[in-house]
C-alpha cells in the first residue's frame, strides 16, 4: 500500500499513522517522520513552498517505489504540503510500516533523504529583511548519497 499526496491543507499525522496498520496483524513496526517549519531563532516569519505539479507526485511515488524495492515494506505514506506555512506548522509526513523495526527506520529515513534531493519542491523564507529562496544543502546530497552504498538492514 503506497499513498502519496501533495496538498496545501494540514495533515493529521496520527490518523495517517493509524491508517498504515489498520486492520492488519502482520505489521510489527511503524516509523514516521514529521518535518516542521522552524521560525523564531532563524527569524523566519513565513515559509512558502513552491512545487512542480505533476512531476512532484511522480517523484514521490518513485521514491516510495524504490523504498519498497530495497526493503520488505507493508505500507508507505508520504504527504507534502505546498503554499504558505507559518513557523511550527507541519511540512511533510513520511510513514513506513514493516514487520521489523530495522526495515521501518531505514526506509523512513531513506524516503526523507531522497525526497530532500529529488522531489521538486522549493522553499522561500520570509524574514524581517525580506524574502529569500532557501539554498540546497550539501549535507542533504551526502545524506542521499550514502544510500547508494548502504547495505540493507533487517
Amino acid at each position: 500500500m503506497q499513498t502519496v499526496k501533495v496538498q496545501s491543507e494540514d495533515f493529521d499525522a496520527g490518523a495517517l499513522t493509524r491508517a498504515l496498520s489498520a486492520g492488519r496483524t502482520d505489521i510489527g513496526a511503524v516509523a514516521t517522520f514529521v518535518g516542521l517549519v522552524r521560525g523564531a531563532a532563524d527569524g523566519v516569519q513565513e515559509m512558502t513552498l513552491e512545487h512542480y505539479p505533476g512531476m512532484t507526485e511522480k517523484a514521490l511515488a518513485e521514491i516510495a517505489d524504490e523504498a519498497c524495492q530495497r526493503w520488505h515494506l507493508m505500507a508507505v505514506s508520504v504527504v507534502h504540503r505546498v503554499g504558505a506555512l507559518l513557523p511550527g506548522e507541519q511540512i511533510v509526513y513520511v510513514g513506513v510500516a514493516a514487520a521489523h523495526r530495522g526495515e521501518a527506520f531505514a526506509a523512513c529515513e531513506f524516503v526523507m533523504d531522497y525526497l530532500k534531493t529529488r522531489a521538486p519542491f522549493w522553499k522561500k523564507e520570509q524574514t524581517a529583511q525580506g524574502g529569500h529562496w532557501v539554498d540546497a544543502r550539501d549535507t542533504d546530497d551526502e545524506a542521499a548519497a550514502r544510500w547508494d552504498e548502504v547495505e540493507m538492514r533487517r
Binding site: 513552491e50 512542480y52 512531476m55 525526497l115 529529488r118 519542491f121 522553499k123
Partner: protein, 84 residues
C-alpha cells in the same frame, strides 16, 4: 518543433516568467542545445548556461544535458530542490 518550457522558484522570478511555448529548429535536440539557445538571449538568461547549478527535467523526469528532446515535450528548468 514545439516545446513547452517551465521555470520554477528563484529561476522563475529571475526570468520573470513561469512558462513559455517555443518554436525551435529541429537541431535543438538536447537539453544542452536548448540551454545554449536560451542563454543566448543574454542578461538573466545566462543563468541557463553551464556552471550555474540549474537542473532540468524532460516530461517531468530529471534530465542531464545529454537528454534528447523533441516535438511536444515539456521541459523544466529549476534550482536544486529544497523540500522536506
Amino acid at each position: 518543433m514545439k516545446l513547452t518550457v517551465l521555470y520554477f522558484a528563484s529561476l522563475r522570478e529571475l526570468l520573470g516568467q513561469a512558462r513559455e511555448t517555443l518554436e525551435l529548429p529541429d537541431a535543438v535536440d538536447s537539453i544542452g542545445a536548448l540551454r545554449a539557445t536560451l542563454s543566448a538571449r543574454g542578461e538573466a538568461w545566462g543563468r541557463l548556461a553551464p556552471g550555474h547549478n540549474v537542473r532540468a527535467a524532460v516530461n517531468q523526469v530529471m534530465a542531464s544535458d545529454a537528454a534528447r528532446i523533441g516535438d511536444g515535450d515539456e521541459i523544466a528548468f529549476f534550482p536544486p530542490v529544497t523540500g522536506g
